[in-house]
């Protein structure tokens, strides 16, 4: 009898886990997964990683969510892109989110930071906030982001790299420091620390080339139950 009751308990727990999310408070029952890829160079190019996971690429390399991507030119003003692959287990696919470019910091003294808020289409809730440092925004228009079962690629130029030398900005040449902040407890965030080394291990130029439109080269991934 004890065995039967234990089996029933396991069955109940498993059923709760396996059932669609709408049973557990998610109206649609679908999951959205956003996998961002390197933001520099034109789509299909191999982007050069200049500094692995770090907060500051300054000689001490404290570990953090930042990756430095070379922008391919010796001068400034090279384009940077909001780039990633959006997947949903909704077979109908379609628009899953809105991208909202915003200025976080734009100042001649401080390091300039732009962000693109990823706002879920279904309920208008902010889900993710990737950050692009040492850049500006030249196209601030909101844009639609599509998703599909196999994943839909979004590639949109948002701005350009800048000369970010400032009294409060140590800066050693044109690049994009890609980062993010956590914005919503429903979102699971993962970063690929095996593909991209830590800052101390990878702090010189040309420490790795990564095709910037490849699903395998995602840098950070945000997933959440739609409508939660």
């Amino acid at each position: 009898m004890k065995r039967l009751i234990a089996l029933a308990a396991i069955f109940g727990f498993s059923a709760a886990v396996a059932l669609p999310n709408n049973v557990l408070g998610s109206p649609t029952g679908y999951t959205i997964v956003a996998s961002l890829t390197p933001p520099t160079l034109s789509s299909g190019s191999s982007a050069n990683l200049n500094c692995g996971w770090h907060q500051e690429c300054d000689g001490t390399y404290p570990f953090g969510n930042g990756l430095d991507w070379e922008d391919g030119g010796t001068n400034y003003g090279n384009p940077w892109y909001f780039r990633g692959i959006f997947a949903t287990n909704n077979p109908a696919g379609g628009i899953v989110a809105t991208g909202v470019p915003l200025v976080n910091t734009q100042d001649p003294s401080l390091c300039d930071k732009m962000t693109v808020w990823i706002v879920e289409k279904f309920n208008g809730v902010l889900r993710a906030a990737p950050i692009y440092e040492h850049t500006n925004i030249t196209n601030s228009a909101q844009f639609s982001i599509a998703g599909s079962v196999l994943g839909t690629y979004t590639n949109r130029q948002i701005g350009t790299t800048i000369d970010d030398h400032g009294t409060n900005c140590p800066f050693d040449g044109s690049h994009v420091h890609e980062d993010h902040v956590s914005v919503n407890g429903s979102v699971t965030i993962s970063t690929d620390t095996s593909r991209y080394q830590t800052g101390a291990q990878c702090h010189n130029n040309h420490c790795g080339l990564f095709a910037n439109n490849s699903p395998t080269n995602w840098t950070r991934r945000f997933s959440w139950p739609e409508g939660s």
Partner: protein, 232 residues
């Protein structure tokens, strides 16, 4: 008959066990994935529409260009006085790189900067030198800000005496914060959603400032009060 009763009681026990574990799993997953008892997350798109409307209205107003307590404010560096432009160009011409905090001790606070516990340090302090001279120290903090979204707060001490920020005359205020006069450029809406804001304390060497993104006006002033204390 006894066997039948036993079968029924076993079935009932199994049903109770299954239901209990189902509810337990729901509670566990519900807590991890957004408890249904929590207030629903805000519809950021709607709130941003309000902010955009306010900003569009303000953009019709002339931008503030002028000096307050020795700090020049204009939308772009090109609108700074030539002396400020030249000073900035000279400072950054020698390249700007990281230095040690002890190397920039001339810019350190008089006493420790202590923020309320709800403010979390987001990165180690960064000291900068330009052309071999200490030029700034930066501290970064986060706080759950407008709509539950983390605010980004930068406290910086800098040799610069000019700001490049677009604001209007109505939004530049001079207030006494923690006993010191400060220039306040508040967010357009009180919650600060998706907006930047500033508090600047003029200094003999340049300025001490609080730059924030997505921070409410009230919390901006909380940080500014702590910064004011640390400079005295």
């Amino acid at each position: 008959m006894r066997q039948k009763m036993r079968a029924v009681s076993i079935a009932a026990a199994c049903l109770v066990a299954a239901a209990a574990s189902f509810v337990m799993a729901e509670n566990i997953l519900g807590t991890a994935g957004g408890d249904a008892q929590q207030p629903p997350p805000p519809r950021v798109v709607d709130q941003l529409s309000t902010v955009t409307a306010e900003q569009t209205f303000e953009s019709q107003e002339p931008a503030y260009v002028g000096s307050i307590d020795g700090i020049f404010i204009a939308p772009t560096t090109a609108q700074w006085p030539s002396a400020d432009q030249a000073a900035n160009a000279t400072t950054v011409a020698g390249d700007c790189s990281a230095t040690t905090l002890s190397g920039a001790r001339a810019l350190a606070f008089s006493s420790d900067l202590t923020l309320p516990a709800s403010f979390k340090s987001a990165a180690p302090p960064v000291a900068t030198e330009c052309g071999g001279q200490p030029s700034g120290i930066t501290w970064e903090y986060s706080l759950t800000g407008a709509g539950g979204i983390p605010a980004d707060i930068i406290v910086a001490r800098s040799v610069s005496k000019a700001l490049a920020v677009r604001t209007t005359k109505d939004h530049v205020l001079v207030e006494t914060i923690g006993g010191r006069e400060a220039i306040v450029v508040a967010p357009t809406t009180p919650d600060g959603l998706g907006q930047t804001s500033e508090v600047v304390f003029p200094e003999s060497f340049g300025m001490t400032r609080v730059h924030a993104f997505n921070l409410s006006r009230d919390d901006l002033l909380v940080v500014a009060a702590a910064v004011s204390q640390a400079t005295q």
